[in-house]
Amino acid sequence: MATDTITEVQKLSKAAALSTVKRLSKFMLVRLIMLFITIVAGVYLTILIANMGGYVDTIMRNDIRERVNMQVSAMTANKPMNTENRAALVNDMVALEEKRLGLDTPFAIRSVRYLKNALTLNLGRAVHMVSDHGSREVRNIILERLPATLLLMGTSQLFLFFISLYLALRLSRSYGSFWDKLIITLSPTSSAPPWFYGIFFILIFAAWLKILPFSGMVSAPPPKETGAYILDLLKHLILPAGSLIVSSLFISIYNWRTFFLIYSSEDYVDVAKAKGLTSREIERRYILRPTLPTIVTNFALLIIGLFSGATITETVFLWPGLGRTIYRAIGLYDTPVIVGTTIIYAYLLAFTVFFLDFIYAIVDPRVKVSGSNN
């Protein structure tokens, strides 16, 4: 009898485990398919916009014809050539160039090809752009600029994230104090974007006080020793990173502080206080624990945000990052580069969103993965 019950229970728990796995895998599958469709739609839209629905083709065709005409007239400047031969030569060269750029196939087909290549991360070759090392591979163009962007965005955003979390926690403890009020008063200054502060910083520290460089990433010529090089890099980093930090520091602290305050006004926090727990313990167990999912989400989104660069701040500080590369690519109608940066961001975003669901389930016991939609 007893053994029967035990096997029964074992069977039941096995069945439950099996159903959990089933549910989980179904959930994962649905989620993955949904995310994939989102990426496909988003990237295809980007391709369409990057070509203005095929209008960029017209621009490029005219551009090619003009360039070829110039070339031919330069080539034949000293040679007598009748108009027919000349026109034939021009047409041949135009056709060749159009074939090279893939303009001989209609845009509808080409856009699908772009999409397929993008989705398989086959980034291909740029149309006009060349990396600083002379490579036409989109991958090389992006990889070459990525370190600069990651350095700038990484230092500023990580610093911003942790300092504002730390200060917000402290402020939420001393609610209503002078510092708390100061942060509230200063938070509207964050309505200005980083480049706005950047211009002021350049004005004060570079033009007026002359203690920091105007722009760029290293001095010209760059220092030869590694130590001096790093110091030089840091010196150039201060102003752009500083403006990225200052422009959202106060609003970030304010938002986190308000967020923590909402959680610290819960009844269970009062109970914990009544029990006589130390404030550090209350913070760790009753405030940070329930807010962890939000903190993790924000951190994950911050990390993928690093890869998109800060186009305008990079422009103001002439920082050779990814944001500027995208801007240049757009100016040169370089679809592969534009699509390349978009697809990387899209994949990163999709994976992050996908994994966040699991992280939620780990850090927050209230979240359960269910088979049905949400």
């Binding site: 469709i37 916009i49 203005m52 309505s191 200005a192 706005f196 004005l203 186009t311 978009t342």
Partner: protein, 452 residues
């Protein structure tokens, strides 16, 4: 309604809200003043910078009030027309075959630097025989410097610094090569050049050879400070851009913020109310929009398609509808949808449209307004950001374009700070005004933030 009124009364408890409201009102006043003072067509034409609009303006000089802060007293720009200005006298002596017109203009020069350039703009209505001008400048120390003698065309511009003969004459006077304008305003033979302060008199004698031949002379002095806001590299008066930037920034920010938040609220309401595939579709579009690179798309539209500020505005609204706001709104609507009064409305047979517009939307408005007001600065700055990338509307004077012009012409490197600080200050005021006001509204209307 009454609750709304009470909430509005509560605003006055927040000093920052009052300060923000004052800034906003000042901006609106500035915008209205700009629209009334300078008609749009006029502003756009002036901003193109054709000669007829800018001939009185020196190039790249700070505003007149710059003198209050600088150690040096910089020469102020002026332009005077003979006969129209009291100081610029015009005496006509009619003769039998020839007449003479004597012009005399005295001005006090007590500055620590030299003007940029001097001009005579001459217009004469003669038919065949050109009138003859002789121009003389009397310096405070009593020398009479002969500027030039020439027969004038119907329309002629005489530029002091471009006259080779005058340059030669000054070289003879000084005994060495000296820039024309400096030569005119220095004590002769001083080394190093010392500014000759005091009263200068410009005398022009015109001999005309036809009856009723009138000659209009305008004396233009390009100083080193100009007007209320200074000028830029194309000699355009920055007043135009500073004043007209206000209405454009306000309209852009307001339309973008209102369009975005109202449209996303309505779409969220429709999605939440009907549910099903419509709701699902809206959710999916929001996710797709998350993947799209917002700034890159705006740059692409600016580069490939059109730089018109209105097209950029439209694209901004379209791209900003399906963002986080739609999710927040939807969550609230899903709650509202379950309320008993909605059920009551359904019971009495209200249509879907009626329930959405009359019963669901009003519930969210208190939450919508603070968000809308706080979003305005971000759109104002977005327009400036695009201008900074060189994608601003080329025909319309905006603050962002001024900053971009200044940056591209190295204003920070050569120290023309006024050029950047003026539009930046106004952008700052706009940003602060709306942010302060929106912040206070948020704390009043958002029950979770009340008292935090």
């Amino acid at each position: 309604m009454k609750a709304l009124k009470n909430s509005l009364r509560e605003i006055f408890r927040y000093p920052s809200a009052i300060f923000g409201a004052i800034l906003i009102l000042l901006l609106i006043a500035l915008a209205i003043f700009a629209v009334i003072k300078i008609p749009y067509e006029e502003a756009v034409k002036h901003w193109r910078g054709s000669e007829e609009y800018v001939y009185k303006n020196p190039k790249n000089v700070p505003p007149e009030w710059y003198n209050l802060f600088s150690k040096k007293n910089l020469p102020v720009s002026f332009a005077v027309v003979a006969g129209e200005d009291k100081e610029f006298t015009k005496v006509v002596t009619v003769g039998e075959t020839t007449s003479t017109i004597d012009y005399e203009y005295s001005f006090d020069f007590q500055y620590d630097d030299y003007p940029q350039e001097l001009f005579l703009y001459i217009q004469s209505n003669h038919q065949t025989k050109n009138p003859f001008l002789s121009v003389v400048l009397e310096t405070p120390t009593g020398e009479e410097i002969k500027i030039s003698d020439f027969g004038t065309l119907n329309n002629q511009t005489y530029r002091f610094s471009q006259d080779q003969k005058l340059s030669t004459r000054l070289r003879r006077l000084y005994g060495c090569e000296v820039p024309t304008i400096k030569g005119l305003f220095s004590i002769p033979k001083s080394d190093p050049l010392e500014i000759n302060r005091g009263k200068y008199t410009l005398r022009i004698m015109v001999t005309t050879f036809e009856e009723n031949n009138d000659v209009r002379i305008e004396f233009v002095n390009h100083g080193l400070v100009y007007g209320l806001f200074g000028t830029d590299h194309m000699r355009r008066d920055l007043t135009i851009a500073i004043l007209w930037g206000a209405p454009i920034a306000l309209v852009f920010g307001l339309v973008a913020a209102a369009g975005t938040s109202i449209l996303s609220m309505l779409i969220a309401a429709v999605g939440a109310w009907f549910g099903g595939w419509l709701d699902e579709l809206i959710q999916r579009i929001t996710e797709i929009n998350l993947v799209l690179p917002f700034l890159s798309i705006l740059i692409m539209i600016g580069t490939f398609y059109s730089r018109s500020i209105w097209i950029i505005l439209g694209a901004t609204i379209v791209l900003s509808i399906f963002t986080g706001a739609i999710k927040t709104d939807r969550a609230i609507f899903l709650q509202v949808k379950e309320s008993t009064y909605i059920e009551a409305a359904k019971a009495y047979g209200a249509s879907n449209g009626r329930i959405i517009v009359r019963y669901m939307v009003p519930r969210i408005i208190p939450l919508l307004i603070p968000g809308l007001v706080s979003a305005i600065p971000s759109y104002v700055f977005l327009e400036a950001s695009l201008a900074l990338l060189g994608l601003g509307d080329p025909t319309i004077p905006t603050w962002g374009k001024v900053i971009n012009d200044a940056r591209e012409n190295g204003a920070l490197y050569v120290g023309q700070f006024y050029w950047i600080l003026e539009p930046a200050a106004l952008l700052m005021i706009t940003g602060l005004g709306f942010a302060l006001f929106g912040f206070a509204l948020d704390r009043i209307f958002n029950p979770r933030l009340r008292g935090m």
